[in-house]
Symmetry: C2
Amino acid sequence: MNELKYLQKIKNLHRLNPHVIVGPGDDAAVVTFDGPLQWLITSDMLVEGVHFTGEATPPELIGRKLMAVNLSDIAAMAGVPAIATVSLAIPRGTSDTYVYQLSKGIEDLAHKFGVAIVGGDTNGTSGPLTLSMTLLGRATAKGPVMRSTAQKGDAILVTGRLGGSRAGKHLHFTPRVEEALYLHQHYSLTSLIDVSDGLASDLRRLTEDRGLGAALLKAKIPLAEALGQGSDKLRHALTDGEDFELLFTLDPLEAEALLHEQALVDCPLTRIGTVIETPGLFWLAKDQYLEAISWKGYVHG
Amino acid sequence: MNELKYLQKIKNLHRLNPHVIVGPGDDAAVVTFDGPLQWLITSDMLVEGVHFTGEATPPELIGRKLMAVNLSDIAAMAGVPAIATVSLAIPRGTSDTYVYQLSKGIEDLAHKFGVAIVGGDTNGTSGPLTLSMTLLGRATAKGPVMRSTAQKGDAILVTGRLGGSRAGKHLHFTPRVEEALYLHQHYSLTSLIDVSDGLASDLRRLTEDRGLGAALLKAKIPLAEALGQGSDKLRHALTDGEDFELLFTLDPLEAEALLHEQALVDCPLTRIGTVIETPGLFWLAKDQYLEAISWKGYVHG
């Protein structure tokens, strides 16, 4: 299944609509309603066996993850989450208690981030548990931050640590909504994305549309503690996906000020590299030598 | 699976949100963004084996139905459809052609009703094809028409004919968006709902919240031609569900004017009964005798 193909197929439709400012392709679409503000719309689905293991995962954490991945998309546009719908396809025979716990996982995180769940649909299914959410958020007065607007020479930064998803972070992470709002308010981010498919994939997304590339410093990649000392820890950190950290670019001088300030609470900030003119992903080695990185991120299917 | 229970569970959340005017429970939620207008949000999911037969249904018609059922919910609030998201869980091994045809079914109807599809998510699944849509629409300047605001003595009317879903109407119906807008603009509808779970269920929904009931005229129920002359055709018309016609109430004098005007093109309009003080559903027999109707509509599961 090729998501891009499907999205491209429907791209023409949104062009005709006066409400749509940015259609599919970024972390969220950008629309206006009947006021001056810009609004963000994202929709993420979780399928048992793909995004979580049904038996091994407590239902609260499944519900929590549904809310969290959608919140992460609004964070990736530096927006304020507001309103959501939830639709569930629930395997027949599932207990009321299970569904209650699932709902509680959704609601607790919704409540924490001020999201109202205004509707949805529940159905029985002969297949795996499938959860779908659409989340609307408000862009700030500065507008949203897009993913494909980085400039050559910009510093590349990332929040938190990468590669922890296999150890369970994908079920427990706090979406970086507040961090994104803070960064957007106080600095001039030139691009922003959440690391959902692995740094290698998402960094390509951030640079490729403009024909740019990225030079990374191997020693600067912030590795999740759970990765331990294995020889392939760097590969895991770049390709495992579901980190749900913020990956962003800004002017190198601003980056220096930001790193000096360290204003984010309980959220490491690391400069991992620089946007360069050469398309592709590279390790920056001695004497400015660029060593190509061939790793790809996680591909859904 | 008890949808009401789930919805009640999350009702408290939406109360805290300044954007939410009406939370879950009607055909669509009513919200405001940053302008004066009211907006409608609905979310409906289709599951293979529940809402359509996978092998027997052409993918275009599955996609079409996803768009149509969501449009019908916006019609049921007398709103103008605007923006949608679509998420799909697609059985592994499904061909690109199949997905293309599915998308085309969604898009063709979206285009017809001016809807922009701004985002979504596609995933593989080990289970049945599952499609989820969230659709936003704009209420007119008169505001939306709710489902639980009928008055005692109001005439009960329905568009089209009932009971055709088994013969395939649920895949081919045109959502009554334009009809609802016309009716709302030119008449004072006191309540409005779409017949999705069968007249028996949806008429109860329309009257029960206010402790009212409905007296129906057996001979006036507009039967789908496909029902033929079977002895249980009336039961099918009241309980089969998925008619997706408009069921609405208005002052009896206005109803008379509307029926005289017959302004809707290719859309029969029939007065089928009256809102009464006695809770429940009744056939109105000779000498104002009320014969209780025990049939229930379709219950999803």
